[in-house]
Structures are given as structure tokens and as C-alpha cells.
């Protein structure tokens, strides 16, 4: 129950933050952090997969509604959440997933969290950029924009994680 409340409050806080603060960060015309992904990154793996997908869709769509890019963030979030178990599987050295795995600082070390966050954010960002640009001729721009955004977003997400969650997960 406690976990449920903390996830719900995280959902609202992160979406409000994204909508009111981070959507207005548009540095150099392309740098736009998507911090609300933290909610999906920290989503407990025990939740049924289909529910996870629906949550991802809803989250993405709410942000879409504010960015007026209907469907793009939702698409990328669903894809990201779909790939999340497989990324964890690879990061854990292809060992079958136990029940107790939590992608939370404290449980996992910094390097693991960093790579995990980087991969997930990159998947989401490249999908968003491809859907936004929608031209293969711009592939070079797609790549560097999504890499830059991934790095920036990951930096902010890790800051937030280590400020608020370090020590709690243990």
C-alpha cells in the first residue's frame, strides 16, 4: 500500500514538474529533458506487464497533450516499458529475473543504474526524435539530438534519484 501511494505521488509530482518546468527548458533549440520518465524507470517490475504498458501510454499521452505532439511520447513510452525487462535481463548477465529486483539506487550500484537509465532514456528519445522528424534524410540530426537529450535527461534523472532515493531503497 505504501508502495502504491509512493508510485502515485511520484506520477503526479513528476508529470507536474515535466509539464510546468521541464517542458519549458528548450536549450539550443533541441535540448529538452524528459524527466517524467523517472516514473516509468522506477515502476516496480511486479506490476503485470499489460498494466505497465497502459500506465506508460497514459503518462506519455498526458505529456503529449501539453506538448501538442499527440501520440509521440505515448508511443515511445510504451516501447520503452516493453523493452525494460529485456534491458534488465541483459544488464543482469542474462540471468533469469528474480522477484526482488528493484532498479533503485541503493539496491543496485551506480554504474548499473547509470547504464540502465541511459539505455532506457535513449530508447525513448530516439523513438521520439524519429517520430518527430519523420524523415530518414535527417538521420544524422536524429542521432545527435537524441544522444544529447539522453545525456542531459539522464543527468537530471540521476540527480533526482540520488537526492531523493539514496539510502531509502535499502
Amino acid at each position: 500500500m505504501n508502495k502504491f501511494v509512493s508510485n502515485i505521488s511520484r506520477f503526479f509530482i513528476l508529470i507536474l514538474l515535466q509539464v510546468f518546468v521541464f517542458n519549458y527548458v528548450q536549450w539550443f533549440g533541441f535540448l529538452n529533458p524528459v524527466v517524467y520518465l523517472l516514473f516509468l524507470i522506477l515502476l516496480p517490475l511486479e506490476i503485470p506487464k499489460s498494466v505497465q504498458y497502459i500506465l506508460a501510454f497514459v503518462t506519455g499521452f498526458i505529456v503529449d497533450a501539453f506538448l501538442k505532439t499527440y501520440g509521440i511520447q505515448a508511443f515511445a513510452c510504451v516501447l520503452m516499458v516493453f523493452l525494460r525487462p529485456y534491458i534488465i535481463l541483459i544488464l543482469n548477465g542474462l540471468k533469469p529475473l528474480g522477484t526482488g529486483i528493484k532498479p533503485v539506487p541503493g539496491v543496485k550500484d551506480f554504474a548499473w543504474i547509470l547504464v540502465y537509465t541511459l539505455l532506457l532514456v535513449f530508447v525513448q528519445q530516439i523513438t521520439v526524435t524519429i517520430l518527430e522528424t519523420f524523415r530518414w534524410a535527417d538521420w544524422w540530426r536524429i542521432i545527435w539530438t537524441s544522444v544529447a537529450n539522453t545525456l542531459f535527461t539522464t543527468f537530471i534523472i540521476l540527480c533526482v534519484e540520488y537526492i531523493f532515493y539514496a539510502g531509502k531503497g535499502r
Binding site: 499489460s50 505515448a74 508511443f75
Partner: protein
């Protein structure tokens, strides 16, 4: 049955995943103009050639209908030609009345299909599928889409015979355009593409390529309808007239659809003529 249920249970999340992806993509497609445009133009690239192909194929089924429409359109255009009206020459009258140029229709146009056509005989004729029932009268002019074709000679209830231009009995008053000299076109060479213009004096400068059109001095043909173009001319030592050969505008080997032109003042003109003869 049980295994099926298990299968569905196992892959249910994949179904949810795929359907959410598709929903998201449909939303992208419908609510973002740019993506919509790119996707639909890409699809157009794929479907375009297919549609083009089917169009090419189905086009053949619409020809007869389209042809009928085109004939209708051509009749409407022919009717609006300047030569189809009696032009009122007295400009003073029109200027002071202030009504613009007054035009009275002299010729009416209708269409017919060729049902029989000869080109290789000495006296060639055409049969068309319109007769008395459709208002065809003797001495109506017959035009092909390209030029003069003949004159109606006999009319039955449903069909009419037309004296083709390829007939020594056919003679039409003609004008060579740049010099405006009046002559007559007759068919003498037994070649369905060539006719002669006679009665052109030798001193006139006729050049190859000049157009020969109807003069409008008969009450059958309106003026300025193309008959042919000059391809050959030579002086005749025994004669004071030039021999001019023209290539006919009408392709008689390929005659399917003709236009009938009726003179609306024909009875009036006939009665005048008959009085003249009686005196």
C-alpha cells in the same frame, strides 16, 4: 482449448503492447499534420502506380460514355462558331441600339454515326444512322471531326445516304485562305486522301501549305470549315487555270463519328430559288 487459453494468458501483454503502439501511432497520424502529410504522401508513392494501373485498365470501359459526352461538347462548341450565325454587318445599327452585336443562328448541329462507308470506288458514299425520324433532310452538310465529309442525298426513316467528298458528283465552293480566291473542290484522282481545287486562275500566287476552306457561298456549308491543305500545284499549258492538289483534312479511311449541319433558313432560300427559276 486449455492450451489456447494459456497461450493467450502468456502473450496477453504482447497484445496489449502492440495495440497500444498502434493506437499511439494512429493518434500520431491523425493529430500531427506534418507526420500525416509525410505518411500519406509515402503511401501515395506506393499506391499511386497501382491506382494508375487500375485506372488505365478501367478507363476502357468508360470510352463509349466519354465519347458521347465529348460529341455533345463538340456540338456545343461547333454551334458557337462565328460562321454558324448570320452576322449583321451594319455596324451603325448595333452601335446605336446598344445591345451589342446581334446574331441570328443560321446553322444547327447534330451528330451521327457512320454505319457504312466506301472509299475505293468511283462514286463513294456513306450511310449514317440518322434519318427522317431524327430530322435529317437532304442537302444537309456532313462534317468529320477534322473537316468537310459530304452532303446528305437521300433520307429514309432511320438512315441517310451521304454523297462523300470522294465522289465526282460532289462539288463544294472553296476558298484558298491567304489570297481569298474562290474555286471549287472536286475529287478526280481516285485517291481517298487527295482532291483538286479547280477554277483558280494561273496568275494567282498559291503556295504549298495554304489552307482551303469552305467559302460559305452555298447554303449547305457554313463558311470557314477546313477542307484540306495545298500539297501540289502546277500550270497547265492547255488551260488558263492552275491545277492544285490538296490533302483532305478528313481521314475517310477512319470515319466513325460525323456532325450534321442543317441550314435553318433552307425552306425560305429554296422558295426564293424556285421563284427565280420560274421566271
Amino acid at each position: 482449448m486449455n492450451s489456447l487459453r494459456e497461450l493467450i494468458k502468456r502473450y496477453f501483454h504482447i497484445l496489449v503492447f502492440l495495440s497500444l503502439l498502434i493506437i499511439a501511432f494512429v493518434i500520431v497520424y491523425h493529430h500531427n499534420n506534418y507526420q500525416h502529410f509525410v505518411l500519406s504522401s509515402t503511401m501515395q508513392k506506393i499506391t499511386g502506380p497501382v491506382q494508375n494501373f487500375t485506372n488505365q485498365f478501367y478507363k476502357h470501359f468508360h470510352y463509349s460514355k466519354e465519347n458521347a459526352e465529348l460529341i455533345k461538347q463538340n456540338i456545343a462548341l461547333l454551334k458557337e462558331k462565328e460562321s454558324m450565325f448570320i452576322s449583321s454587318g451594319d455596324s451603325s445599327h448595333t452601335v446605336f441600339s446598344g445591345e451589342g452585336k446581334k446574331k441570328r443562328r443560321m446553322y444547327d448541329v447534330s451528330s451521327a454515326q457512320v454505319v457504312f462507308n466506301t472509299i475505293n470506288k468511283t462514286y463513294n458514299y456513306i450511310i449514317i444512322d440518322k434519318g427522317k425520324k431524327d430530322g435529317v433532310m437532304p442537302d444537309m452538310a456532313v462534317l468529320s471531326p477534322n473537316g468537310v465529309a459530304g452532303v446528305v442525298s437521300d433520307v429514309s426513316n432511320n438512315f441517310s445516304t451521304v454523297i462523300s467528298l470522294l465522289n465526282p458528283n460532289f462539288r463544294v465552293s472553296a476558298k484558298i485562305v491567304p489570297i481569298n480566291q474562290i474555286g471549287a473542290v472536286v475529287w478526280l484522282d481516285y485517291d481517298p486522301t487527295i482532291a483538286q481545287v479547280i477554277d483558280i486562275p494561273q496568275h494567282l500566287m498559291v503556295s504549298i501549305g495554304d489552307s482551303v476552306v469552305t467559302s460559305g457561298y452555298s447554303d449547305v456549308f457554313p463558311k470557314d470549315l477546313l477542307i484540306g491543305t495545298v500539297i501540289e500545284k502546277y500550270d497547265n499549258p492547255n488551260n488558263t487555270f492552275l491545277t492544285i492538289k490538296i490533302r483532305l483534312a478528313t481521314d475517310f479511311r477512319n470515319l466513325h463519328n460525323v456532325y450534321l449541319i442543317s441550314n435553318l433558313y433552307k425552306p425560305e432560300l429554296d422558295s426564293l430559288k424556285s421563284k427565280f427559276k420560274n421566271e
